[in-house]
Symmetry: C2
Subunit: 346 residues, 2 copies
């Protein structure tokens, strides 16, 4: 297993170190190569994602990213020049974001019952296409446009993926989240494709929710959701909310998948680089560890993936929520749990 690792900025390197420690317990011979990308590199060289690095990244089975970003870099530079560029260059069309309320974790909703959903967010089109512009800049007649581009090809591949995931889950339920009553054209295309693909998956029950109503359901009745499939921007918004109601982005993992396997997929915690607590052994590496679980699952190492997730679940259920321990202590605990799970399984 050849992994490219982008530790990134802030707490990125710290949480990645623990994630790799845990990985080592299930895949002892993984070969990792570090790539220095993010705020420091941009400051030092002006580079965001050199072609040569992109070429090397492509040679790996998967990419693990910690977090990039720093207040010293103008907003948008790293997002568009590095994070989104990776998603577009590597055709990461399925942006996979599970949101599960683990036993022992208290979110802001008190006791909302079971929450266990997976959001399949489209990752390569919609309003993220970068298609827009300014006219008459800096005059009172200035106009700015942003064009959401949606293709049958692009939608069908993520909708198919979402249905397959729904089919494998106990509840076999899929919700399309969009705003079809206002975004008539994109909404029509998404709806028609969901309807078409649903014919191939008669066991999956299908629901629809407008994105505004979905935010209400996410705080009043989140248990209703199983698999959600949605557009790039709506997915961005509702996955942050879904993470918040399941204990915060500190626990949320994500995968940016090219499900054709042509390009390496990339796995990353949803949280940012948190420069305020960087370098102090304070960050919770759980989301990075869960990202490794997604990575292994994607590479076909289902058993190892499950073992890591089970260890995280056990740790979350038993840890002292008020003081869960240092970055390293949590990483050590998770590594020990994974290793003892391995011995039991073996």
């Amino acid at each position: 297993m050849r992994l490219a690792v982008i530790p990134g900025d802030g707490i990125g390197p710290e949480v990645v170190a623990e994630a790799l420690k845990v990985l080592g317990e299930v895949v002892p011979n993984a070969e990792t190569t570090n790539y220095d990308l993010g705020a420091s590199r941009w400051h030092a060289t002006g580079e965001l994602l050199p072609e040569s690095v992109l070429g090397e990244l492509r040679q790996h089975d998967a990419i693990l990213l910690g977090a990039v970003g720093d207040p010293s870099v103008p907003s948008g530079i790293l997002e568009r020049g590095l994070l989104l560029r990776l998603r577009f260059e590597l055709d990461h069309h399925v942006n996979l974001r599970p949101a599960r309320l683990y036993p022992g974790v208290r979110g802001p909703l008190g006791d909302p019952g079971e929450i266990d959903m997976v959001v399949v967010r489209e990752g390569t089109e919609g309003p993220y296409a970068g298609n827009g512009g300014l006219l008459r800049k800096d005059t009172e007649h200035e106009i700015a446009t942003e064009v959401s581009l949606n293709t049958a090809f692009g939608i069908r591949r993520v909708v198919s993926d979402a249905f397959k995931r729904a089919e494998e889950r106990p509840r076999k339920h899929l919700t399309l989240v969009h705003k079809t009553n206002v975004l008539e054209h994109a909404g029509s295309l998404w709806s028609r494709i969901v309807e078409e693909v649903s014919l191939e998956h008669p066991e999956v029950s299908v629901a629809y929710s407008h994105v505004d109503a979905a935010t209400i359901h996410l705080v009043t009745d989140p248990g209703r959701f199983d698999v959600i499939v949605t557009d790039n921007l709506f997915g961005d918004i509702i996955t942050d909310l879904a993470a918040a109601v399941t204990g915060g982005i500190g626990l949320a993992a994500s995968g940016n998948l090219d499900i054709t396997g042509r390009n390496p997929s990339m796995f990353e915690p949803v949280h940012g680089s948190a420069p305020d607590i960087a370098g102090q052994n304070l960050a919770d590496p759980t989301a990075a560890v869960l990202s490794v679980s997604l990575l292994l699952d994607h590479l076909g190492e289902k058993e190892a993936a499950r073992r890591i997730e089970a260890s995280v679940a056990f740790d979350l259920a038993t840890r002292d929520q008020a003081s869960p321990g240092s970055t390293q202590a949590i990483g050590d605990r998770l590594a020990a749990l994974v290793s003892s799970n391995a011995r039991q399984a073996g």
Copy 2:
């Protein structure tokens, strides 16, 4: 005071009746004209908003709308043909949506502290401009576009309005919500205008939040928000969430304002027509009553507006939350409270 009333469908007529009952206590001589628009008219005649009706609506000081919609009407028809058409024809550029957690009301967040915010949502442009299309429909090469149109003119007028509202509030705080790191062009225009207008309001402190992060804050720390100014689509999403965390859309009022006064502004509860409980005297008319308070405030009847809001606050603090009473009972209570408040004040 000449009011156009659109009772609409489902629970619309029921909640409007109570709202007018309460209005009668503060403005006994308001002249109201009913307009039959919504699902039933569309079914009966195919009409959504005839030009003649639009012309008559324009002759009023304000419009009160109950709710429109019915599952028997295909999604999008009434939304685009009636609700959005009214907003665009009557230039309702300031979509005003207060979200306050009244004492006694329990939302899904348990005890989140004080929540008292006003969202100023742009109402006439952005992704709601209806600018988009389909290419190669029903082929595998189909493409759908949606164009977000943003003008300096359109943004400046709502941003100015939001700053003025912030200046009049104790905390004098304004948050721009957008997604500037991805929607580069629209984001740049919104940011620059907020910066410009802020120079005219040095007492107002300004913050920025990406829309995805804003959804997290709305469930983990909603008290941080005072005035939010945002784009049409982001405003649609976060106002539903803001309503949810302050007790639900059953309590949320809104105003669609033409702040130039050229066209009548329109006031409506945020909730829908709830056909499942229609005609049973079960709907809570509180949001409709609060919409009347916004209407009076907009027409300069500040004292009457405050009196209604105070009566609602008192009723919410003292009502039996589990069984607040029938539609009519709540309306009667609120009318009595308003009338006794009036006597005390007079």
